[in-house]
């Protein structure tokens, strides 16, 4: 029979037959395959699967079952995933009478391959094929290598990752097969690395292993390091040296990435500090007002975000991804209005009496906290992340989460925006004029009381939009502000009062310092050390990093 379909159909079983022979599968199979040659390809494949499946009924003991499982996997046919998953879940049975295999699920008897309901009958007529964890592992492996040839590259990647994580010499042929066909460069590289991992675990000759060590060394991540250093411990001679030196190279590279990661964490913390402190840089740094309720402005911003999200959930769930964009102006207005009211109602009577201002604003902070506690309840509130703020991506060996990245960018934007307002707008000019020489500014026709009020409102409003950002990375509770206030003051004082750039440098350097201390000292002790260092620093330079010098500041 010269069936044109014959050739490809036959090619596939043949290639697997080589594997079969290596495993020492019975000769009968060969005859059966010959028989299947006369069927249509699909039918042939299915018949072959059923034949192998049937062996499960006779397999005695877990090793025998595992052999069958591997044989099923060796067919490379995706159809085996159904019965294998059922087996893993303990749903695969065989009939006591005719030893036919079936899946029993929810009282129904299903065909193992098609999953269709085959017949009616009592489930008591079936015997369960027992599984243990070892067998489940084998099933996972088999299913893993099966998906190696899935059409979706993502599926292939995850399959190859499974192999990489539990290297098995038996996967080498399968890998070789898919490697030849693989077109996606990334997937191909991962496959080669998985193969290298498997080679290291095999008893292949030395030169192959040497190549494998090189491949793994080039991969250069933590998993490769583990593989190589484990291998270096068990191997002998020059191979051990090669593995050890490859592991060392990876360690060096990883140390570099660790530094980079720490810098990133530090920048991320620093930008959080910057957001919390930058409003304070205006109220304290520019106006000289100690606003102990600054943290509560941040808290108000965070609660505004919560309220906006609640409103959106209730009325327009589709807008949820826009919730932060809506919350930003809302938070600015809410916190700014509260700040405006504070300045007009309290602070303006206390100019020139900084200690009294400190106490009065502390009182306001208690009132604001308690008000929020009464309105929203004392517990943490959940503020959702929009989709574009969730998840993470990787650069080299660094993981970067989207919310942190956005906050760093946002902090930078707020900083630049504020700098622009202060240096380039008429309002900023008036602000600086009033703070430098109030009487002169007043006689130039600037309405100083209004400049004061709006400057304070601006500082508070910025604290409010900081609250929007901070609601994305931490708990939103009435105590939110308290956790930021001391840090914020530290940043402003450290950076140098009255200097926005000082605040920027102060925030970022404190953030990075904190994150570099953490691995050695732990988070809490690291924070304590930073606090003590700042206390010492202030005593060395009472006016901070970027201090103004000269007669004006002494007055």
């Amino acid at each position: 029979m010269a069936d044109p379909n014959l050739l490809p159909a036959c090619a596939k079983p043949l290639s697997f037959r080589e594997a079969d022979e290596r495993k020492g599968i019975s000769v009968i199979l060969a005859f059966l395959s010959l028989f299947f040659l006369f069927l249509s390809p699909a039918q042939a494949a299915e018949a072959q699967l059923r034949t192998i499946l049937a062996k499960l009924a006779d397999a005695k003991g877990f090793p025998a079952v595992e052999a069958v499982v591997r044989e099923l996997g060796a067919t490379g046919d995706p159809a085996v995933s159904g019965p294998l998953e059922a087996l893993s879940a303990g749903d695969l049975y065989f009939a006591k009478a005719d030893k036919s295999i079936a899946i029993l699920r929810d009282g129904a008897i299903l065909d193992p391959l098609s999953g269709a309901k085959t017949r009616e009958g009592a489930t008591s007529a079936f015997t369960k094929i027992r599984v243990n964890n070892g067998l489940r592992g084998a099933i996972r492996d088999v299913l893993g290598s099966l998906t190696l040839s899935a059409p979706d590259p993502a599926v292939r990647l995850s399959a190859v990752a499974t192999i990489f994580n539990r290297p098995d010499p038996e996967a080498i042929p399968a890998l070789d097969a898919v490697l030849a066909k693989e077109t996606d460069a990334t997937v191909k590289a991962r496959m080669e690395e998985a193969r290298a991992a498997a080679v290291l675990a095999s008893d292949l000759p030395e030169d192959q292993k040497r190549a494998a060590i090189e491949t793994l060394g080039a991969r250069g991540d933590r998993a490769a390091l583990t593989l190589l250093s484990n291998y270096a411990q068990s191997a002998q001679g020059s191979l051990r040296d090669a593995a050890a030196s490859a592991a060392d190279r990876i360690r060096t590279v990883l140390a570099g990435w660790d530094v980079a990661q720490n810098v990133w964490f530090g920048l991320s913390l620093g930008s959080v500090l910057l957001l919390a402190a930058i409003g304070l840089a205006i109220t304290f740094g520019v106006m000289g007002v100690i606003n102990m309720a600054h943290g509560e402005m941040v808290m108000l911003g965070a609660y505004t975000t919560f309220a906006v999200q609640e409103a959106i959930r209730a009325s327009a769930p589709g807008l949820f991804d826009w919730s932060l964009a809506i919350a930003l102006p809302a938070a600015f207005l809410v916190a700014g209005a509260v700040g405006f009211a504070m300045e007009r109602g309290i602070i303006r009577f206390l100019y020139g009496r900084p200690l009294e201002t400190l106490l009065a604003t502390w009182g306001v902070s208690l009132i604001l906290q308690q008000a929020v506690r009464v309105i929203f309840g004392p517990n943490n509130r959940e503020v959702g992340n929009p989709t574009w703020m969730s998840g993470s991506f990787e650069i080299g060996q660094m993981a970067i989460t989207w919310n942190r990245l956005w906050i760093v960018l946002f902090a930078g934007a707020v900083f630049l925006g504020l700098l622009y307002v202060m240096k380039r707008t008429p309002w900023g000019l008036q602000m600086r004029a009033v703070t430098q020489n109030r009487r002169m500014a007043a006689s130039m026709g600037i309405r100083t009381p209004w400049v004061d009020a709006f400057t304070f409102a601006l500082g508070s409003g910025i604290a409010g939009i900081a609250g929007v950002a901070l609601s994305q990375i931490g708990n939103v509770s009435p105590n939110l502000g308290q956790s930021y206030i001391i840090d914020s003051f530290m940043v402003v004082v450290f950076g140098g009062v009255g200097n926005l750039w000082g605040t920027l440098v102060g925030a970022l350097s404190l953030g990075v310092l904190n994150k570099f201390l953490e691995p050695y000292a732990g988070a809490v002790l690291g924070k304590i050390i930073v606090l003590v260092l700042i206390i010492l620093f202030i005593q060395k330079r009472p006016r901070g990093l970027f201090a103004l010098k000269g007669r004006a500041v002494e007055a």
């Binding site: 520019v286 100690i290 206390i535 005593q539």
Partner: protein, 386 residues
């Protein structure tokens, strides 16, 4: 006025009256609790005794703050730290007195150390089984911390709000440190479950009465010491430093030393207050280091009238009584009331209750100005960024 000449200028009639009242109360209140029948209208119930004993410790703490804030102009936002350190020193003694009566019945180690699988007492716990040693530490630890902190801060001329902020950072750092289990001070839970002090059970009525009397005595001594200091030429120097620091410097005084002395004495007083507080409330935990606590002390002092010695005592008693009443009757409103108090006092009665009283007296009697004037607000205009 003869007594004033004998004891010094600080012992104004008002201070003498306060001293007499404190000492009298220190004797009569415990006696009425112990000797009078509960049915007697003059009987002080035990809960009230415990409450007022606590207030006396708060009053001493407020007085200690007054010495530095009212007279030298150092607004410490970290005085709670000295109070807590004194309290911890006493708490450590009380922990050692538990002995084998703890849950784990370890004769040497306090329960929390057994729980953390520690095998021996850390070095800094040695000696705390002796009362005299613990008392020494009550004085030394806060005093030394204040001395070292003040040495650096005053020498580098950290003043005003900067100083306030770093004192706050100091107590915050201590708060974080004492929360850590491996610091060896009981971590989150602190020190508690005390059994006895000097061999007497801490819960017994007699012990409570004695602790009350001791607190009153300590407060009286504190008042006397402050009055003596304030009445001396050094007291005048303190006020001079508060009002015009650089002037004192150009006169050849070293304001940093003036401040350091007052700060250290004040810290020791706060430590004593904490040490008397702990056996009466039965617990000391890191929460005492919370910056909010220290700021609350400031409002007691401000309400009573700073720079008056007697005012802070009145403030501490009044504000804490109000707190007890509010937390019982209107728990949700206490923080509103406290916050409002902060705002009200700074805006409308910057000299506190005693200041108002003096003003009223001056107006009715047309006397010369009060004997302890408060710092005049010399700078009516907003300062540019300092």
């Amino acid at each position: 006025m003869i007594t004033q000449r004998v004891f010094g200028a600080g012992f104004t009639p008002r201070v003498q009256l306060a001293l007499a009242l404190i000492l009298l109360g220190g004797v009569l209140v415990p006696l009425s609790n112990l000797l009078l029948a509960p049915s007697n209208p003059l009987h002080v119930p035990s809960y009230a005794l415990a409450l007022f004993g606590k207030y006396l410790c708060y009053a001493l703490l407020a007085l200690s703050l007054d010495l530095v804030w009212g007279y030298v102009g150092i607004l410490s936002l970290g005085h709670g730290a000295f109070f807590a350190l004194g309290g911890y020193a006493m708490g450590m003694y009380l922990m050692r007195q538990i002995g084998a009566r703890g849950v784990y019945a370890n004769p040497e180690l306090p329960d929390f150390m057994v729980f953390l699988n520690w095998s021996e007492l850390p070095w800094f716990w040695l000696g705390f089984d002796r009362f005299w040693f613990a008392c020494l530490m009550v004085l030394l630890v806060p005093g030394l911390l204040a001395f070292v902190f003040g040495w650096f801060a005053f020498r580098s001329r950290v003043t005003g709000v900067y100083l306030s902020i770093i004192t706050q950072a100091m107590t915050y750092a201590l708060l974080l440190a004492f929360f850590r289990n491996d610091m060896g001070f009981g971590g989150n839970n602190g020190l508690t479950d005390f059994k006895d002090i000097l061999g007497f059970p801490v819960q017994a009525a007699g012990t409570r009465g004695a602790l009350f009397a001791a607190s009153a005595l300590a407060l009286a001594v504190g008042v006397a010491v402050c009055a003596a200091i304030v009445g001396s030429q050094y007291g005048k120097l303190m006020i001079a430093v508060r009002d015009a620091e650089s002037r004192t410097r150009f006169l050849g005084w070293r304001p940093e030393n003036v401040k350091l002395f007052a700060f250290t004495v004040s810290a020791v007083m706060a430590g004593i207050a904490g040490a008397l507080y702990v056996p009466q409330v039965g617990i000391i935990n890191p929460g005492e280091f919370a910056p909010a606590n220290s700021i609350e002390v400031v409002v007691w002092t401000a309400v009573g009238g700073r720079g008056t010695i007697v005012g802070p005592i009145i403030g501490a008693l009044l504000v804490n009584s109000a707190k007890s009443w509010f937390t019982g009757a209107l728990p949700d409103f206490w923080l509103f009331a406290l916050g409002g108090l902060f705002v009200f006092v700074t805006l409308f009665m910057p000299k506190g209750i005693l200041g108002l009283w003096d003003q009223w007296q001056n107006r009715t009697m047309r006397k010369k100005p009060a004997d302890d004037p408060i710092e005049p607000s010399t700078a009516p205009l907003p300062q540019p960024a300092e």
